[in-house]
């Protein structure tokens, strides 16, 4: 057997060959695999902790049929080390005269050392004898064979399975394992499959057995067998293929539905990611469908192409949808054109289906679908959509004035009509076929029925924002409706006790609450959450308000931090109040902006000083007549002016308020320098404390400054670390 050369860094390749792994699970699995391999290599003494990193030493590869990592910079054997072996207690090992007993002799013999080599050490069970033995590090091959199988077994996936005799569990059945340390096979087995040096090529265009000389040969050997195992390379090849096929057709790639206009002309990144994980050897296929289908709404055409078929839609120079598409196949070539023809046939079938749905649905106007909603379940324990619509119409009616107050032109009648109609599309064949178009389909049918444009827009947009990248609805009525819809859903699920925890959020309530907050923040609408949630909960006749408010607070924090605003600015604003997301966001932003202004540090220090003095002091009353010293009288005058300034600035300008408070700093400094707050005279003391308390109250109108961490504050680094 060839020995791995001592001292030279070794390279390890692990490939798990499986049946097709779900595309959505591949990136996470690779991340976990790479981190686990990194940590285990360090823990097992196979890699130096200081010069061995996840990014620098571990490459990951994957296709639908394999997960792989390649690790460089490994030691070919563990570092040598000393091991302390504990023997019998010292009182049993030596007699009263200090002579070794039989126990000591036996232990020394068993350990193969002389009696003089025994040492005494302190242990939890008292003093014992022990020997220090030098142990040679074991070869990396042996260690890897031990650590890799449990590591792979502990990988987690959203869903796993058993197969065959049912003994093993993994994301999909495992068929081959490559484990090579430099040129040698590491003797291990995963899910009952022994490791070797043979990988495998493309299912149809490659060889079923592809032997590898060493880990360095991996990518090239696979490439020769029509597998691009490097995910980044595969993504690039697909992107280039799509762009050049679009160019060849004199077209551009269509912007995904609902995407911001700035992304126009860019590749749909989510779809690109998904198809990248569906193929081993990508081939872009250009196809067409019959032009008359273009009469169907664009939303339906694009969804049929993108969501159902994973096709990229194409548009002309002016952005008009073309009767062309690009598909990404997993093969070498389409010589006979069978793949193009097949994909065209499938899309034609889908579109013919969609046209049938469109025509059939149109026979019943949207307004005539109310009765059908009684039979559509919102949730088995929360009743039907008909009941939901009634609840949310009441909510919409209650909240729309807040939108009007914020300067949004809301038409109360449109809100009421849209609220009554907005879920009617759930009974259409189109939504059954294209559930991702809920709301949009309702809007399209409303328009086709000749209902007012504004009403159609309200229905069309009320699901926005669907995801974090979506805009909030442009239509004010859609925003009102969307908010009412979300409040009702959240209230219902919180009453059932369905509160998202960790990765479990089956009804996407995080997204729902964030959507509600974003509507309020981005539309600039102030309203009281406790009042709205009470109203929503009333619709079901129950409680759960506190839990829901806490949840709202956590989502506001997440949104604020992702602006990004400093976490402690966000905390400070929310600690003061989280009841009005729009107002809270303004205060967060003000706190954050103030931090780059010269007066900020003085502001924080003043707050700290005031807070320290007030700590544990009883509330007292303030009487301006009891002010005696010049400094306190001046401070009081300045405070009154600040009050007036803040009132004038109003709640919409918390930054103005902060600046006004900051202008108090010199008066405060003088006050602290010249005035004895804790005066002997109780009435003077109470009066001064009360003066400070009203200043503290000013701070609290914007944020709780105790949450602010100044740079250099030891708490700052501690908190950052905890967050990481």
């Amino acid at each position: 057997m060839k020995r791995v050369a001592e001292g030279r860094a070794a390279v390890f390749l692990l490939e798990i060959g499986t049946e097709e792994i779900p595309a959505r699970m591949i990136p996470g699995a690779l991340q976990d695999l790479a981190s686990a391999v990194h940590d285990q290599a360090v823990a097992a003494g196979l890699a130096p902790a200081d010069r061995f990193t996840r990014e620098g030493n571990i490459e990951t590869f994957a296709t639908p049929r394999r997960l792989a990592v390649r690790v460089t910079g490994l030691r070919s054997r563990q570092a040598d080390g000393a091991v302390e072996v504990t023997g019998p207690p010292a009182r049993a090992a030596y007699d009263a005269e200090g002579r070794p007993t039989k126990a000591a002799v036996g232990f020394a013999r068993a350990q193969g050392v002389a009696l003089e080599d025994l040492r005494r050490i302190a242990t939890p069970r008292g003093e014992c004898v022990a020997v220090l033995r030098q142990v040679g590090g074991r070869p990396a091959r042996e260690v890897l064979a031990e650590v890799i199988p449990p590591l792979v077994a502990s990988l987690t996936f959203p869903k796993t399975m058993r197969w065959g005799s049912g003994e093993h569990r993994f994301v999909r059945p495992v068929h081959s394992v490559v484990a090579l340390l430099d040129g040698e096979v590491v003797d291990l087995a995963l899910a009952g499959v022994r490791a070797g040096r043979d990988t495998f090529g493309h299912r149809f265009a490659g060889k079923p057995r592809v032997p590898l000389q060493d880990p360095g040969a991996y990518l090239e050997a696979l490439r020769a067998n029509h597998v691009l195992a490097d995910i980044g390379e595969r993504r690039r090849v697909i992107a280039e293929g799509l762009r050049s096929a679009a160019r060849a057709a004199g077209a551009r790639l269509a912007t995904p539905l609902g995407a911001a206009p700035r992304d126009a002309g860019d590749i749909d990144a989510d779809l690109l990611e998904e198809v990248t994980h569906l193929v081993e050897w990508p081939l872009v296929i250009a196809g067409e469908f019959e032009a008359p289908f273009l009469d169907l709404p664009r939303e339906i055409l694009v969804t049929a192409m993108r969501h159902h078929q994973k096709y990229f839609a194409l548009v002309d120079r002016s952005g008009g949808l073309l009767n062309r598409f690009l598909a990404v196949a997993n093969c070498e070539s389409d010589r006979a054109g069978a793949i193009r023809k097949g994909n065209e046939w499938v899309l034609r079938a889908r579109l013919a289906d969609a046209r049938f749905f469109w025509e059939d649905d149109r026979r019943t106007p949207l307004g005539g679908r109310v009765a059908g909603l009684e039979r559509v379940a919102f949730h088995e324990k929360l009743g039907s959509y008909a009941a939901k619509v009634r609840r949310q119409a009441r909510l919409a009616e209650a909240i729309h004035p807040a939108f009007a107050a914020a300067g949004e032109a809301v038409d109360a009648q449109v809100v009421a009509r849209a609220a009554a109609l907005c879920k009617n599309d759930l009974t259409t064949l189109m939504v059954k076929e294209f559930p991702e178009l809920e709301g949009i389909v309702g809007g399209l049918y409303a328009r086709a029925d000749g209902l007012p444009e504004r009403l159609a827009d309200a229905i069309y947009g009320h699901y926005l924002p669907r995801g974090t990248d979506d805009p909030v609805p442009a239509s004010a009525e859609a925003a009102v409706l969307g908010l009412a819809d979300r409040l009702d859903t959240q209230a219902g699920f919180f009453l059932l006790g369905v509160v998202p925890t960790g990765s479990r959020d089956p009804y996407a309530l995080r997204r729902s609450v964030q959507g509600a907050c974003r509507i309020l923040i981005e539309k600039g609408v102030s309203l009281s959450l406790p009042r709205c949630l009470d109203l929503a909960l009333e619709g079901y006749g129950g409680g759960a308000r506190a839990a829901l408010l806490d949840f709202y607070r956590a989502r506001q924090q997440h949104l604020g931090e992702s602006v990004p605003l400093r976490p402690d600015s966000v905390q400070a604003a929310l600690a003061a109040s989280a009841d009005d997301p729009h107002d809270a966001r303004l205060r967060m932003a003000a706190l954050d902006a103030m931090r780059s202004e010269p007066g900020f540090e003085a502001l924080v220090l003043a707050h700290k000083r005031i807070k320290n003095i007030l700590q544990g002091q009883p509330e007292g009353t303030f009487d301006p007549k009891r002010l005696v010293e010049g400094a306190e009288k001046d401070l009081h005058r300045a405070l009154e002016e600040t009050h007036r300034g803040i009132e004038a600035a109003g709640r919409r300008d918390p930054l103005g308020s902060l600046r006004a408070i900051a202008r108090l700093a010199p008066f405060l400094d003088r006050f602290f320098a010249e005035v004895m707050v804790m005066a002997e005279d109780r009435s003077l003391r109470e009066n001064r404390l009360a003066l400070l308390r009203s200043i503290a109250g000013l701070f609290l109108r914007v944020g709780d400054f105790s949450e602010i961490i100044l740079a250099g504050d030891p708490a700052a680094t501690a908190r950052e670390r905890r967050k990481g």
Partner: protein, 299 residues
């Protein structure tokens, strides 16, 4: 090579017979999917090996379109294969079966994309894929993990071919009713009237009260038979309950809140049958285990 509908069925039967599958015939009680056939649902339970293939007429009342939609049918024909335990080369076997009706995988884009399966009425769930050929879903491929509320061991692989779709795809037919069934007969010649009449029945004519009464009667009879130890007849009544529920649903007679209740009632009966069936096989000493051992030359 354009082939007609019956050649597809015949090709699949012949192929799977060569793989050692018993060729079963369609079951004669209405069902929504080939999985409900006792030769799948009951045979995947317990340790006995099993290989079967059959054409399974599947009735889905809500999918009826009065014969007007070129792609939707109230009743379609699944071709069903169940392999227990799932062989290591089951994907290759499947790909081989495509050749049986003239598909050369080299010339097409064939992909396995995640699609898991769950049947609340059968207390069954599996993990698997939809198999796409050139973007078209041609089969469902499932590794059963549970059935009748029981964890399975060994695991069965179930392959379900959408035979109409495949035949349409191969022939390029624009409507299922234009598909050639045999020499001289189209799918429409054979089945159009049935689609029209059953759509009318399921959506308009079925007497709601009578169907509801039938559901209760079937359910009661099923439990009575099960209590008396007649598992297979009891299971037929579970199938009848399931189909009656489907008719009621198409008829618009089941409200959102009632739905779960109905499903649970079918499930209770089906799960009861599964458990009782497994006990029965155990009492019999799992006879097919011995047979499999003997055929492998074991003592």
């Amino acid at each position: 090579m354009p082939i007609n509908f019956q050649q597809l069925i015949l090709g699949l039967q012949e192929f799977w017979a060569r793989q050692g599958a018993m060729i079963q015939q369609p079951y004669d009680v209405e069902m929504g999917a080939g999985t409900m056939h006792p030769d799948t649902f009951l045979r995947v339970l317990g340790p006995e090996p099993w290989r079967a293939a059959y054409c399974a007429p599947s009735r889905r009342p809500v999918d009826g379109r009065y014969g007007q939609n070129p792609f939707r049918l109230y009743r379609h024909y699944q071709f069903q294969v169940v392999l227990k335990p799932s062989p290591d080369d089951v994907q290759d076997l499947y790909l081989g079966s495509l050749r049986a009706f003239g598909i050369d995988p080299q010339e097409h884009d064939i992909r396995f994309e995640e699609d898991n399966w769950e049947s609340p009425t059968l207390g069954a769930a599996g993990v698997g894929w939809q198999v796409l050929m050139d973007g078209m879903e041609i089969s469902q491929f499932t590794y059963f993990q549970q059935a009748g509320g029981l964890e399975l061991n060994p695991i069965s692989a179930e392959i379900t071919y959408g035979s109409e779709r495949i035949a349409m795809f191969l022939s390029g037919a624009a409507s299922v009713y234009d598909l050639a069934w045999s020499q001289g007969l189209t799918y429409g010649d054979v089945r159009l009237e049935e689609e029209v009449e059953f759509s009318k029945h399921n959506f308009e004519a079925a007497d709601i009260e009578r169907q509801q009464r039938l559901f209760h009667e079937y359910e009661a009879e099923g439990h009575r038979l099960l209590a008396g130890g007649l598992v297979l007849p009891a299971y037929d009544y579970a199938l009848r309950c399931s189909h009656t529920f489907n008719v009621l649903e198409a008829r618009g007679a089941i409200s959102a809140t009632e739905r779960t209740g109905f499903i649970q009632r079918v499930r209770r009966l089906a799960v009861g049958c599964a458990k009782e069936h497994l006990k029965r096989r155990e009492t019999l000493g799992f006879p097919l285990l011995d047979k499999a051992g003997r055929s492998r030359g074991e003592p």
